[in-house]
């Protein structure tokens, strides 16, 4: 993981508090799940309401993370009931994953799964939980950090449970996944719903 001279290096997976107020990384943490409000948004994933020209934003993870050979599962988060209805009925456009501050100097291929905490690079894109993917080419800009949006497929709508809860699992795939450390870090992950 390259050290960046002006930005704090994202903490490793082990450097996390026991109680996760926001953005619980379920992959490798001894994290007691916070109490989940019944019938309302999850406290772990703050929601910014939609405005005239901005989407509703669900902060899936506001804590920096590292995507190595082990997948990273974010959430669980919960969508408001009306948004669940809009997604499951097809009335709204596709949800958009917004990942900020990604550093991938060697490039990366990342698969996104919904409610598949056990997903790996071997999980096929034909899996019902496959929601989308994004790829980064390496280089100077990717080393400095980029942000991106990628629309997610119907897996999210299909997976939403009665309480609107879901998890997202990011999996490093492609040639990088076979060489060990994928060398990908990110600052924030959110879901945008229009």
């Amino acid at each position: 993981m390259p050290n960046h001279p002006t930005t704090p290096q994202p903490p490793g997976l082990r450097a996390r508090p026991v109680l996760c107020a926001v953005g619980c990384l379920a992959a490798a943490l001894a994290c007691a799940p916070a109490a989940r409000a019944v019938g309302g948004p999850s406290a772990e994933c703050p929601i910014t309401p939609a405005a005239v020209s901005t989407p509703l934003v669900v902060a899936v993870s506001t804590a920096p993370g590292v995507l190595g050979t082990r997948p990273v599962t974010l959430g669980p988060c919960r969508l408001p009931a009306e948004r669940v209805r809009a997604l499951t009925s097809g009335a709204s456009g596709p949800p958009v994953l917004f990942v900020e501050g990604i550093r991938a100097p060697r490039g990366a291929d990342v698969l996104v799964f919904v409610d598949r905490p056990g997903a790996t690079a071997a999980t096929p894109t034909t899996d019902a939980g496959y929601a989308g993917a994004f790829t980064l080419l390496g280089g100077a800009q990717a080393a400095e950090g980029v942000s991106l949006r990628v629309p997610l497929g119907p897996a999210l709508a299909a997976a939403l449970r009665d309480d609107g809860a879901f998890t997202l699992t990011l999996v490093a795939a492609g040639p990088q996944a076979q060489t060990g450390d994928a060398g990908v870090s990110f600052q924030r992950v959110s879901l945008e719903l229009r």
Partner: protein
């Protein structure tokens, strides 16, 4: 930085001089600074009473740009068949450019434009990837490279082909082969390789209606770039796998023409889809080279309006493949891919054609069959002046059994417009109802619809 093997094939020489780029980069920096001076204020400025609407401004710009730059119509690479003039011209143009050892008109020189602005821009933060610059910069890059390629090939009839990787998962065979100027031996993807259709699908992208999610913002990449675009780059690998060398592989140009085509399709869908109107986007300028090797700047506003269109090769869609005898109206349904639906709606394209084969000709009485589009309740009483009437054909008795006749019936112009209007999530649904008139029996073996 990921360094794939740089091409060992004659790459056509070195980059345009860095001095030349830095000279123009100064102008670029000035333009960028001016654009960024008050973008938010300009974006919120009220329309001047009596002044043009935004739509009028866009239309005027499109007219002005079209008058300055010759239009191009790009075709699917599958139409560049072996021995065709298109493929011969393409190879000749590339070979000529590869033979130039240096300068912006050389193959390597053109590739170096990509290296500079994608990996090591002379102006801070002027990267053309991972932001809203991506689509529009590459549109200009393709267009002016195409002009140079036409000059190299000695014909303006040559246009860059596109590789429709949503449909054709293999890298086109025209781009392989020893001694082939379109080949690149550094590729990781071989002739038998296949892309993952889940990652080259565009229906989800087309269903987006906001540019930030589709094409990016000032600070974030959009789904088209980080989805199929980047995926194809990484999967093909070799020179294609890195910004610095991607332009050296001839498949780069066919790949990016398809990316540009997806943008073109997205805008054609309408429904609120539009390019940014922020002056911070519109007023940015970047340098390119003309066919004389002279550098010039073009704004994103003008680059977005470059007169580029795409056609789709005709595709035959099966409607019914079983023998049918109709005495009553019957409906067949077809799902038309979005790109084909939009191509069919282009005003200069011939209408879709209904192809009926294996017809059982009547021996005693004639039969007229009326065809209605998206009118599943049509009957013999439905008037042919109804908007849904799409065409008809009449079978005249021959006096003796005569089976196996084929007919091709052009469907009327509202059918393509229906296809366009009905596009959603990557495809358009169409139904055709065949109505034998007078209660006569009409039989056929198969129905197909040919769409251009």
């Amino acid at each position: 930085m990921e360094h794939e093997n740089r091409g060992t094939q004659d790459s056509g020489g070195t980059a345009p001089s860095r001095r030349a780029f830095l000279t123009h980069a100064g102008a670029l920096a000035g333009g960028m600074l001016a654009a960024g001076a008050a973008p938010a204020a300009a974006a919120r400025a009220p329309r001047v009473a009596g002044g043009p609407t935004l739509a009028e401004v866009i239309a005027e710009r499109a007219d002005r740009v079209a008058a300055m730059y010759p239009p191009v119509v790009r075709s699917d690479v599958t139409t560049f068949t072996e021995g065709s003039a298109q493929l011969t011209n393409l190879k000749n143009g590339v070979q000529t450019m590869r033979g130039r050892t240096s300068g912006p008109l050389s193959w390597g020189g053109q590739a170096d434009i990509h290296r500079i602005w994608c990996d090591s821009p002379p102006v801070p933060n002027a990267y053309v990837h991972n932001s809203w610059r991506f689509l529009v910069w590459h549109r200009a890059y393709l267009y002016f490279n195409e002009q140079i390629l036409q000059a190299a090939a000695g014909t303006t009839s040559l246009t860059l082909p596109y590789w429709n990787w949503t449909v054709n998962l293999a890298l086109p065979a025209q781009y392989y082969g020893t001694g082939n100027p379109l080949n690149d031996p550094t590729r990781r993807m071989g002739p038998t390789g296949r892309l993952d259709p889940a990652q080259t699908a565009i229906s989800r992208l087309l269903s987006l209606t906001d540019f930030p999610s589709f094409g990016g913002t000032a600070t974030a990449a959009g789904g088209l770039e980080v989805g199929p675009h980047n995926y194809v780059h990484r999967t093909v690998g070799g020179n294609m796998g890195a910004f610095a060398t991607a332009g050296l592989d001839p498949i780069f140009w066919a790949h990016h023409c398809n990316v540009d085509r997806v943008w073109y399709l997205w805008l054609a869908l309408g429904g609120g889809r539009a390019n940014p109107v922020d002056p911070a986007w519109l007023n940015q300028t970047y340098p390119f080279y003309d066919t004389s090797g002279r550098s010039f700047n073009i704004s994103f506003a003008d680059a977005a309006a470059l007169p580029v269109t795409y056609n789709a090769p005709p595709r035959v869609l099966s409607l019914s493949g079983q023998r049918v005898r109709l005495a009553q109206p019957a409906t067949v349904r077809v799902r038309v891919p979005a790109d084909l639906a939009l191509s069919a709606a282009a005003t200069d394209e011939p209408p879709p054609v209904l192809h009926v084969s294996g017809i059982t000709m009547p021996t005693d009485e004639g039969v007229t069959v009326n065809v209605f589009a998206n009118r599943e309740g049509a009957t013999a009483a439905t008037s042919t002046s109804d908007r849904s009437f799409a065409g008809s054909f009449t079978l005249i008795p021959t006096g003796h059994p005569h089976d196996g006749v084929e007919l091709r019936i052009p469907l009327q112009n509202q059918v393509p417009q229906m296809l366009k209007a009905n596009v959603a999530a990557g495809a358009s649904n169409l139904s055709l109802t065949l109505v034998p008139v007078g209660g006569k029996t009409f039989g056929y073996e198969s129905l197909e619809m040919e769409v251009r």
